[in-house]
């Protein structure tokens, strides 16, 4: 192969690699992400609220869960606090997943979308979901 066609060949490979995200998104059509909040428990709530405001939950939920783990496992501090007279426990399964019982449509949606690997499920067993 003459030198010029070698250079041209490598240049084409370079261009394909660099533009691959454009090509990929053109072929696969990005779907975006939608999180489902309509579990039976949430639907039955009169005031639909989480333990903290929505924005704070979106931004800090991983930090909260991480500090909860340390508090419970290392310090045995299990109480998060009372909201409207109801005590909330620092527990992924008893507090978070009590309302958000749809892991695959709630937790997993965003984490899969952005390829975030969470290690909650290294120890916790995800409860069986009732198909709505």
């Amino acid at each position: 192969m003459p030198d010029k066609s070698k250079i041209f060949f490598l240049l084409v490979i370079f261009l394909v690699i660099v533009t691959s995200p454009f090509i990929y998104n053109m072929v696969r059509t990005p779907a975006g992400v939608v999180v489902k909040l309509n579990t039976p428990v949430i639907d039955n709530m009169t005031v639909k609220q989480c333990i903290l405001p929505k924005e704070q939950m979106i931004h800090d939920h991983m930090k909260i869960l991480n500090s909860w783990r340390d508090d419970v496992v290392r310090g045995n501090h299990r109480e998060f606090g009372k909201i409207d007279g109801v005590m909330y426990e620092k527990s992924l399964q008893l507090t978070c997943l009590h309302c958000h019982s749809n892991k695959s449509e709630f937790c997993d949606r965003c984490h899969t979308y952005a390829s975030v690997s969470v290690y909650c499920w290294d120890c916790h067993v995800a409860q069986k979901e009732n198909k709505l």
Partner: protein, 331 residues
């Protein structure tokens, strides 16, 4: 001044993003126009430069060799330090590009034993730092594709799980991000601390290092300290990469700083020493087999030269040469 200038340049870029987005609210300029322009400049610049290099003539067979070339069968030869065919060239080039083999044989010279003896010693730190820097940068870049592509290709999960096997707080720690920051810092400090390297360093040697240092730093801050909303970031980047930019997402100021630094790096790339990434493949000293004793390498610049051989010369002057008694090849 040689260090201050690039340092102020990088600080300036951070400030421009800070003022432009934080105070003037020019999200569209910094989120869409500048990244697209930088990407276009990068693509066009790299392609044009490679085409320009590809047009230049290679007049001589000039591979650099550091080993015995192919000779008689009983003489041991060094295949990959003195390649004799294309296969050996490809192996040599791959070792160079992937493992920086020529840097591995780097030496430093020093006066030892009360400055009486000149010692050449092996010097592997630059090789190690360079290798750590390039490979970690490559894997960090590869990992970024999870934010460019929707849905995320399965092969990227493998890279991420191998890179992020340490669970230290949230989110998991990616080794390569840390190695990138450490190695680029080392490469910068090396340039500053070693006096003779500092002496030959120019602003355009310091600038890319500082730029990458700040890119790594802002990236790590985004991931581990400020924890930007990765869903918004991905929605935005996927928008950019499907030519449907949307700016409705709440992106932090730090993201715009990171983005502007990367845009500057992309636009700067084709005009800088960073083009060594293409240049290494186009170096005649590395991409040619050392076969000049077997195969005639004709200079492409050669134009037809009118030659007058000795045979023709003798034919022209045979009688005269004979008369004065000069020796002749043909009587």
């Amino acid at each position: 001044m040689k260090i201050l200038l690039p340092f102020l340049g990088v600080i300036g870029i951070v400030l421009v993003a800070f003022v432009g987005v934080g105070l003037l609210n020019l999200q569209y300029l910094f989120g869409v126009i500048i990244p697209y322009t930088a990407f276009a400049v990068f693509l066009a610049g790299v392609v044009l430069r490679i085409l320009k290099w590809g047009r230049s003539a290679v007049p001589f067979c000039i591979p650099t060799t550091v080993g015995q070339q192919k000779s008689f069968p009983w003489i041991k030869r060094n295949r990959f330090d003195n390649p004799s065919n294309n296969f050996e060239v490809i192996v040599r080039m791959a070792l160079e590009v992937l493992l920086f083999r020529s840097l591995f044989s780097n030496t430093s010279t020093a006066l030892k034993e009360d400055e009486r003896r000149l010692v050449h010693q092996s010097s592997k730190w630059l090789w190690l730092g360079g290798l750590a820097f390039h490979w970690s940068f490559f894997i960090v870049l590869l990992r970024h594709f999870r934010l460019f592509m929707d849905p995320v290709p399965a092969s990227l999960y493998l890279v991420e799980s191998m890179d992020g096997f340490v669970q230290l707080g949230v989110p998991v720690l990616y080794w390569t991000g840390l190695i990138l920051l450490i190695s680029v810092t080392y490469l910068f400090i090396r340039r500053v601390v070693i006096t003779n390297v500092r002496y030959i360093s120019l602003p355009n040697d310091h600038f890319p290092l500082l730029l990458v240092l700040f890119i790594a730093l802002t990236g790590l801050i985004m991931r581990y300290v400020l924890k930007v909303n990765v869903i918004s970031v991905k929605a935005f980047t996927v928008g950019l990469f499907s030519l449907k930019p949307n700016l409705t997402q709440d992106l932090g100021l730090i993201f715009y700083i990171h983005l502007l630094l990367v845009s500057v790096l992309l636009a700067y790339f084709p005009f800088s020493k960073l083009m060594h990434s293409a240049g290494v493949f186009l170096s005649p000293t590395r991409n040619m087999p050392n076969n000049s004793r077997r195969i005639r390498h004709i200079n492409p610049w050669n134009y037809p030269v009118k030659v007058h051989t000795y045979e023709e010369y003798e034919n022209d002057f045979r009688d005269k040469m004979k008369t004065v008694g000069l020796p002749l090849e043909k009587e």
